[in-house]
């Protein structure tokens, strides 16, 4: 860790968690009269796995969309790497080093797995339109460098054998993995995963959990993820934000959250009188 801020610490399993990399301050998001997110603040520290959980319709995906620039909150500030982020388009947010996956998988179906992952490196490519169009050596060298990076990720996620397959032909679990690969290809400073394990069977879930842990461990990638499966969340994450009806009802380590009465009520239901 290059910038050991005073509040960094080491986890029981030996990973170093750094200072705050992203901070959401008093975010409120409305769609017309519906309040999707109500005055929520939380932070994400460098190198940690941060989970956002909550029942259906709690506003988790909306929160992820705010972070990635797809939604613009009416109130509140987003701070990324020490400075307040001005209003940005999603592609500009991606350019800042925030990569994401989608709940319903958004891949380029007609393109091969390799090409899909290569698009993840677009923000890293520096050559301009003119030299790309004329295919000067620089563009070619660059392409080869990026290809090497992509191959590393392909090896890492164990998808070598489907490299050339059009994504549209892959089964669901593999698609999810390709989407993760594409996000990783951007070498993100913050990786957002929207329900990475939704719709998977137990075995696929275990694989995906392993990959998420490995990514965090190997590359030190900061990860924020949304997940329904409580067991998975508790095993994976360092800290958890719990949302319910657009409000934050809990924030802390998995153990702290597990013991929180408001969280138990939100998940199990509580008798109103």
């Amino acid at each position: 860790m290059n910038d050991m801020s005073p509040d960094s610490y080491v986890t029981p399993d030996g990973r170093t968690i750094g200072g705050v990399v992203m901070e959401m301050k008093n975010i409120t998001l409305r769609f017309g009269g519906v309040v999707a997110i109500k005055d929520i603040s939380f932070d994400i520290r460098e190198g940690e796995i941060r989970a956002i959980i909550g029942p259906n319709g709690a506003g988790k995906s909306s929160m992820l969309n705010v972070i990635s620039g797809f939604y613009v909150p009416q109130e509140g500030e987003v701070w990324f790497r020490g400075s307040k982020r001005p209003q940005m388009k999603p592609y500009e947010v991606a350019g800042q080093g925030i990569a994401r996956t989608f709940q319903n998988i958004a891949l380029f179906d007609g393109m091969s797995v390799l090409d899909n992952i290569m698009t993840g490196r677009l923000t890293k490519m520096k050559t301009g339109l003119a030299s790309q169009a004329l295919w000067f050596g620089r563009a070619e060298r660059e392409e080869i460098e990026h290809r090497e990076q992509v191959e590393k990720i392909i090896d890492f996620l164990e998808i070598q054998n489907i490299r050339k397959t059009p994504v549209g032909r892959l089964p669901y679990g593999l698609k999810k993995r390709v989407e993760l690969a594409r996000a990783l290809a951007a070498e993100p400073k913050l990786l957002l995963l929207d329900e990475p394990m939704a719709g998977m069977n137990v075995e696929e879930k275990e694989d995906m959990s392993r990959f998420i842990l490995d990514v965090n461990d190997e590359f030190g990638t900061t990860i924020a993820l949304i997940e329904h499966d409580m067991g998975v969340v508790m095993d994976l994450s360092d800290r958890v934000v719990v949302m319910d009806y657009g409000k934050k009802i809990g924030d802390g380590t998995p153990d702290e959250v597990r013991g929180n009465q408001a969280v138990i009520d939100a998940y199990l239901g509580v008798a109103h009188d």
Binding site: Y91, F108, L122, A133, W135, P166
Partner: protein, 328 residues
């Protein structure tokens, strides 16, 4: 060699070259369809508009002269200078880029996330607008386009074939030039789309807008880029067709011939547009030559469409189109 066979070969060669011209128009359609999923009805009119602008700039015509004269009672028509062909082509290309920017800014930007049919309707509107606008800007008279491309029968081929077979082939120099230009254009566009960063971004945008945004692609930039390229292809098509048959408003109708080409080649394949164009070109000419006399001729008017219909029935994605993948 018997004369009939030689004649058939000549017909085939001419068909190939006519096919190149069809392919040039089809190419513009493919580019925009690939990148934005829009079937651009205005592609033919874009070719017309580009050709009109090119002639206008070359001849130093005053744009909107009718309008200006009507309002101010003046009588201006020409600036009185002539612009060299190369410079005029560059200026026209710049105009097409500006046009692409305007289309993105005032049409596409307001239709993001609309279904394809809405965008298609918008391009129909665009086609009519441009036709009228081109008329207003440069006048409705038929113009001669000459950018210095060679014209007329190629003497060398005529003589060589005469010496070999005792029968001289009639090949138009303009068709040869068009073929060379088309080959260069297609090779470079294919390489660009398959192997460059912008090309990959372009295909990504065509596939999924949201995903494209999430990997850092600016939709606006890509749209301006792709409409600029399509405008550039329209310019090339406009030059070729305009040199052949003059710049007139019927030029916009060549777009209709591009339709069967697209159905054969597939809407998403650049090489497909070329091969489709060649098949239609050759098929049309050979069919007229072989079958035409039996059915009273004029088969060129319908051959392409019937062939396209057959393809729609048996291979709807075309020869080279992306496979229609369905998971059940």
């Amino acid at each position: 060699m018997p004369d009939q066979l030689l004649f058939a070969i000549e017909v085939t060669l001419n068909g190939l070259m006519a096919g190149v011209l069809y392919a040039l128009v089809a190419l513009g359609f493919v580019l925009i369809f690939k990148a934005s999923g829009i079937f651009n009805y205005a592609q033919g009119v874009m070719a017309l508009f580009a050709a009109l602008t090119l002639v206008g700039i070359q001849d130093g015509q005053v744009p909107f002269s009718h309008l200006i004269n009507a309002i101010f009672g003046t009588d201006v028509h020409h600036f009185g200078w002539h612009v060299p062909a190369v410079l005029a082509i560059l200026l026209t290309a710049a105009v097409m880029v500006l046009f692409a920017w305007i289309v993105e800014r005032y049409v596409l930007r307001h239709l993001v996330n609309q279904p394809g049919i809405i965008l298609f309707m918008a391009t129909i509107g665009l086609a009519y607008f441009m036709e009228g606008f081109g008329d207003l800007m440069w006048g409705a008279d038929i113009k001669n386009l000459d950018v210095g491309l060679p014209q007329g029968i190629n003497e060398t081929i005529d003589e060589t074939t005469y010496n070999w077979f005792g029968y001289g082939f009639f090949i138009d120099n303009l068709d040869i030039a068009a073929t060379i230009v088309a080959v260069i254009l297609v090779v470079s566009l294919t390489l660009f789309s398959q192997y460059s960063k912008q090309g990959r971004a372009l295909r990504a945008v065509a596939d999924d807008h949201q995903a494209a945004l999430s990997v850092g692609i600016s939709l606006r930039f890509i749209w301006v880029l792709v409409w600029s390229i399509a405008g550039f292809v329209a310019l090339v098509a406009g030059i070729m067709w305009g040199s052949k048959s003059g710049v007139q408003f019927s030029l916009s109708l060549i777009a209709l011939k591009a339709l069967p080409v697209l159905m054969l080649g597939g809407f998403t394949s650049i090489p497909g547009a070329i091969v489709g164009g060649l098949i239609i070109g050759v098929g049309e000419k050979l069919f007229e030559f072989l079958i035409g006399p039996l059915v009273g001729g004029a088969t060129e008017n319908w051959f392409a469409y019937v062939l396209a219909l057959l393809f729609l029935v048996f291979r709807p994605q075309g020869l080279f189109g992306e496979k229609i993948i369905e998971r059940v």
